[in-house]
Symmetry: C2
Subunit: 345 residues, 2 copies
DNA sequence: CTGTTAGCGCTTTCAG
DNA sequence: CTGAAAGCGCTAACAG
């Protein structure tokens, strides 16, 4: 077998078969003007016959760009987590960009910089950053990417670095909306089981809860707050702890749907009726939440739309860069929360 | 701004800075033998100072291979679905391969061949095939890939094409195991709410259920079987229908955990006690299943391990190909089911 | 042990 | 409108 088992028909093959120069074929392929119609036809015919397709690698080399995006994400296996979604793949496809995927698992000691470098070696034109901000070196790596290399980056997480545009969820409003809903439903002793304490998203939701409680004149001290891990385990442990402190609590705002799932299980085990004894609300509207027992009221986070927006922002930055424009400030996209009322409240 | 905003330090820069030829730098970078130690040191030093990194695109071009894998998957958003996972990303990373991701959404009319071609244009060395077999042209595309192009492909789905090695779950044994567990628990009137009727995986699980029932001398006719859509909706509808046909059913084998989730919700709504009145078992062990109400007994499918195996198989095929070996038959990997007993049975 | 030459497949520039 | 030449960054083959 040849050393190049994957060799395909090249532009040269087409050129000689059609009796024209490489240049002409290139022009036809790239839909450049200056080609006589008969020539164009003939070349197109040859291309079709030979099944020619442009080698993107070769094109990348000479153009100094790859039409591909580096995606750095965390925890693909993480249930309901921050991950690559249909919005991202679909939008990239529409715009003619490919996706190079790297995953940084939370347990992985490899610094994320390794992934970034490896992506850079493959000449990605920009980065879609989906690592959560509590990863080691997070801020510094983003800084290097943006300041030193001047590369386009769009984050779908903590926009702590003001130089990095982001497409993110309005976590604060989500917390506000969830808590207000519980209050409107007549609940007064509302506790909050938050996500990971070091997470910006968790903190914002906590803040929303606090503000909503305060504006209603309800207590929202640290004794009514508990941190978990975004998983059901955290919900179980959180409700246990909060019931010790406040046996009379009448509603739980869970940091996300998974936390709510665990908390509801714990409530069932204690013979509490949902929502009569305790109401529950989550955040995310993960697939499945509508079939929890009881179906969970939640704040929907449309991650597909967010992904779509992020890709659009990133590509517009890339195109501007290659067009030689100065760095244009890109406006952030903040995704609004949406209340989905079901039977748990 | 230059036409090449992403230009980096090249091998040429290193060569002139270190006062050696391109070749010597290349040899150092590729850890080739024939380099004098002092020279090597000096080059390494220069590389470090200049922050040189090899341009993989250029390397790909001349080597005719890209050290990247094309991943064609279905429904990233699909809850608990067949998707790219930590096993895949981690194993590819370890072996020094990149992942180029394409998603074919079920609703997308674009033929999957488009994705395949686009991946080929980017010179992927092989394919990880995660499209379900009911996609249009599925078999034909795989055939072309393998027979015509002779490209390495590993499937994580329906191994209907014997030329395509696969890393798949033992769906039949899963059905057998689930049903036997229910029988051992003393259940006799066991119904099955399966997945999509056209899916091979669903059919295999159905077959497992049938065999287990028959070997126990229990009835397993079509009247005790119902097809869904792998989602909770299917579980709700399925249980409703089966309860009409068999009001005395005492156990449900759900095609997957999501189906079980929906079916359990419907059971709760009818005031049935789980597992006293009806026992439930699922397949998958999705994150969350352990916190359903009640926690779901299920057959675990370790997709991370399956992903890892698939990547290993694929890379070994690729390496063999580039080493000039004849196509070596790769042994399939069949992942064993694992029973996880919880409170729903 | 080291350097030179050629060329992967393509696009860009410049001549005709 | 078309072609020739140069070269993106790298590695393979061959000299020395």
């Amino acid at each position: 077998m040849s050393r190049f088992p994957n060799r395909r028909v090249s532009i040269k093959d087409v050129a000689s078969a059609a009796g024209v120069s490489l240049q002409t074929v290139s022009r036809v392929v790239n839909k450049s003007a200056n080609v006589a119609e008969p020539t164009r036809e003939r070349v197109l015919q040859t291309i079709h016959e030979l099944g020619y397709r442009r080698n993107e690698i070769a094109r990348n080399l000479i153009q100094g760009r790859s039409h591909s995006l580096g995606v750095v994400c965390a925890g693909l296996d993480y249930f309901g987590g921050r991950q690559i979604n249909g919005g991202i793949t679909a939008e990239a496809e529409i715009q003619g960009y490919s996706l190079l995927l790297k995953e940084h698992q939370p347990s992985d000691p490899t610094p994320p910089d390794t992934f970034v470098q490896s992506l850079l070696d493959r000449q990605v034109d920009g980065f879609l950053w989906m690592l959560s901000d509590n990863t080691a070196d997070h801020d510094q790596i983003l800084d290097t990417l943006v300041k030193k290399y001047g590369l386009p980056v769009v984050a779908m997480v903590n926009p702590r670095n003001p130089d990095v545009p982001h497409a993110a969820f309005d976590n604060f409003s989500a917390g506000l909306m969830a808590t207000r809903h519980l209050i409107e439903r007549g609940r007064r002793r509302i506790v909050h089981i938050a996500g990971l304490p070091r997470s910006w998203e968790a903190q914002e939701r906590v803040r929303g809860w606090r503000v909503a409680m305060q504006e209603a004149g309800l207590p929202a001290g640290d004794d009514r707050l508990c941190y978990g891990n975004w998983g059901p385990e955290g919900g179980v442990a959180g409700l246990q702890e909060l019931l010790v402190r406040h046996p009379d609590l009448d509603a739980v705002f869970a940091g996300n749907d998974n936390t709510a799932l665990g908390a509801m299980l714990e409530a069932h085990r204690r013979g509490k009726h949902i929502p009569q004894d305790i109401a529950f609300i989550g955040v995310d509207d993960t697939k499945g939440a509508g079939w929890f027992f009881p179906p969970l009221t939640t704040i929907r986070q449309n991650r597909v739309e967010m992904g779509r927006q992020a890709v659009r922002m990133l590509i517009s930055m890339i195109e501007a860069r290659f067009a030689g424009e100065e760095t244009v400030p890109v406006t952030n996209y903040v995704h609004p929360p949406e209340l989905i009322v079901r039977e748990s409240t």
